[in-house]
């Protein structure tokens, strides 16, 4: 069995020739900053939830390399279809921190991104984003837009028929779509081993005739490199790719979950050594002169930016009740319009 693609190992050592983009210190620092920013957002979101100021929240701690790596390989005209744990990718694409807070705070306006207008909002029904991605890719193919649809889901999502039906049609129609699996080893309390007996989740591509690859999802360089290759293939009209990114869910499933009920701290702790920030920081220090000051400045900047966004979010008044109806249809049918009046007055 081929080893998962990796460039930077857990210690931050280069175990393979770096791709071009990863020789550039600026690029790597941007990736690093995006991951740090994501982690800061995560911490703040959890804190807000714990104090009753945010809804149930799914932290991405330890898995930042996946969605940041994926998003960083994408172009603006591509479309991102994330599950609920891919904040890093959304932020990279231009969704604002305020929008993310609004969304997780229970306000639909958080999905009305100023930024990537065609990107999908977070997908909660597991795996249902994959058929959407096939449809987005169909539109791109049909319109010759050169764009690619990029969906991410968890290891658990690969057990749903939706995943499989979508991958299958991407294969048949050679659609420009990339499906990325964030394999964080758990689906709430169900471990990867109970999700499928497949040796690798990327093997699920075989039954659809697509190429599948397993990579180290804690190495943002590997994630970006693999995604870039897949995007190139898609843009060249060669069809879709399945990429399985190996990572680990360091935190609870969501703030509503208590992982200590079903997994031991002993299982978790070794994974802290493999998480994506440590290794990239080590490499930056070694190869690009990243210093303590840089680190502190970055942390400070992220903290300030995230705190400010949280304040803005907290200061945002909820919508009026009538907003429940404003975008239900382009033209609200008359009997429902009457309900909107009732809601306003209730």
């Amino acid at each position: 069995m081929a080893e998962p693609l990796v460039f930077l190992n857990a210690a931050g050592a280069c175990v393979r020739d770096l791709p071009d983009f990863a020789r550039d210190g600026q690029t790597l620092k941007a990736l690093y900053a995006a991951m740090v920013r994501t982690r800061r957002f995560d911490a703040k979101a959890v804190a807000l939830q714990r104090t009753g100021r945010l809804g149930t929240y799914a932290s991405s701690i330890g898995q930042e390399a996946i969605s940041v790596g994926v998003a960083s390989a994408m172009r603006a005209e591509d479309v991102f279809l994330p599950s609920f744990r891919e904040h890093g990718g959304q932020l990279w694409r231009g969704v604002t921190l305020e929008e993310l807070f609004l969304y997780w705070g229970g306000d639909e306006r958080g999905n009305d991104f100023g930024g990537p207008r065609q990107d999908f909002p977070v997908c909660i029904p597991v795996a249902s984003q994959y058929p959407h991605a096939a449809g987005v890719a169909l539109a791109m193919q049909q319109k010759g837009s050169g764009g690619v649809a990029v969906a991410i889901g968890g290891d658990g999502s690969t057990s749903k028929g939706d995943f499989y039906e979508a991958l299958n049609i991407v294969g048949i129609w050679q659609l420009p779509a990339v499906f990325v699996i964030n394999n964080n080893a758990w689906a709430i309390s169900v471990p990867r081993s109970q999700q499928s007996q497949a040796q690798k989740l990327s093997d699920k591509a075989i039954g659809t005739g697509l190429p599948g690859e397993q990579i180290d999802g804690n190495d943002v360089i590997a994630v970006r490199a693999a995604t870039e290759r897949a995007l190139e293939r898609a843009r060249a009209g060669e069809g879709g790719t399945l990429i399985e990114c190996l990572s680990y869910r360091l935190g609870d499933h969501t703030t509503a979950d208590d992982a200590s009920r079903y997994r031991d701290e002993e299982e978790v702790s070794p994974h802290w050594k493999e998480e994506p920030l440590i290794r990239l920081r080590a490499h930056l220090v070694e190869a690009h002169g990243w210093g303590k000051k840089d680190e502190e400045a970055l942390l400070r900047a992220c903290a300030e930016e995230v705190d400010a966004a949280a304040e803005t979010y907290l200061a945002t008044e909820p919508e009026p009740a009538r907003a429940m109806f404003d975008h239900l249809y382009a033209d609200l049918p008359p009997d429902i319009a009457a309900q909107a009046e009732e809601a306003r007055d209730d």
Binding site: D112, F120, H132, K143, D326
Partner: protein
């Protein structure tokens, strides 16, 4: 202007939409070279090519979900589910996504897709091929659900569905596909969605129905007329939204309402109409609101199918009861 049956009218509407709007794309099982199992898409792949008229693999979930994805990016997908009995796998995508994408993105993304499906019984099809589960769809906020009753209405309503900026489920009463023909002008004119059609005027009794059951409903109205009872016949046409005003206005005039549908009684769409009248027209009612519907059992295999379908006799018995009510 030629006489067309409903399947021809549907095909003409699809062709027109493909012709006029390059963003219209058709997909579904066997809709390509086979032209659809009922021939609704016959000839379209030859005319518009296999990029715009696409055979899918046997995957209803992805048919619905792909329509959602494509619709958000400027295509106008018109997807087909081969029979309504196989539409259940598409409900997740309809309810959880298609119907709420505009709302949950506060208008940023929308989902102008059409999902076509033949529905209803009466043609002696195998099991699972004769379902009428329109009430389940009509309960989903954010959807529109449309049922035509004649070739001309099928043409106009299907064009409307395709032009609609929101998701529409277009249910085709397959018993009517080839039942009758009428002149249909290929003028590209859409009929408004949301309006019921008054097919017959009368002052004694309002009969509300949709799709294929309008056949029995009309027959009953004829028979009643022979007895001097003038029934108003309303074709609901749009099952979501419901044209409550038209029905209320009619019942305020007649004082009696009888709803006819093929789907099972309990929690069928007839209940919504009766409930609306029980709230808004109570004082106009001269008789109980009655429903003549399919029974609350599974559509039987073909040998008993006729015994399941609401008969003219049952409609007449209910109508007579209502006229005699005091």
């Amino acid at each position: 202007m030629t006489d067309l049956n409903m399947i021809e009218a549907i095909r003409m509407a699809l062709s027109r939409a493909l012709e006029e709007d390059p963003d219209v794309v058709l997909f579904g099982e066997d809709i390509g070279i086979d032209g659809g199992v009922f021939r609704a898409t016959d000839g379209l792949i030859q005319r518009y090519g296999s990029a715009r008229v696409r055979d899918t693999p046997l995957s209803e979930t992805v048919i619905a979900g792909m329509a959602v994805g494509a619709a958000t990016q400027g295509l106008k997908p018109v997807a087909e589910i081969q029979f309504m009995g196989f539409l259940y796998s598409a409900i997740d995508q309809l309810a959880n996504h298609a119907a709420r994408l505009r709302n949950r993105t506060r208008g940023r993304l929308s989902c102008p897709m059409v999902l076509r499906a033949p529905f209803g019984g009466g043609i002696g099809a195998p099991e699972h091929h004769s379902e009428s589960m329109e009430a389940m769809l009509a309960h989903i906020p954010g959807l529109r659900v449309v049922v035509p009753s004649t070739p001309a209405r099928a043409y106009g309503l299907l064009l409307a569905a395709i032009q609609d900026p929101d998701p529409v489920v277009f249910l085709e009463p397959k018993r009517l596909y080839r039942a009758t023909s009428e002149p249909v002008v290929d003028d590209g004119a859409a009929l408004p969605i949301g309006d019921a059609a008054r097919l017959r005027e009368g002052g004694d009794l309002t009969l509300v129905s949709w799709g294929a059951m309008l056949k029995e409903t009309h027959a009953a109205a004829e028979a009643l007329a022979g007895e001097g009872i003038e029934a108003e016949v309303i074709d609901l046409s749009s099952l979501k939204p419901i044209d409550r005003r038209t029905i209320r206005a009619s019942v305020e005039k007649t004082g009696r309402c009888l709803i006819v549908h093929e789907a099972p009684l309990t929690a069928g769409l007839g209940a919504e109409i009766a409930a609306d009248l029980a709230e808004h027209c109570l004082t106009s009612l001269l008789a109980p609101v009655r429903r003549v519907t399919g029974y609350d059992t599974v559509m039987p295999y073909l040998r008993l199918e006729d015994r399941y379908m609401p008969s003219v006799g049952r409609i007449l018995r209910a109508a007579h009861d209502m006229m005699e009510f005091a």
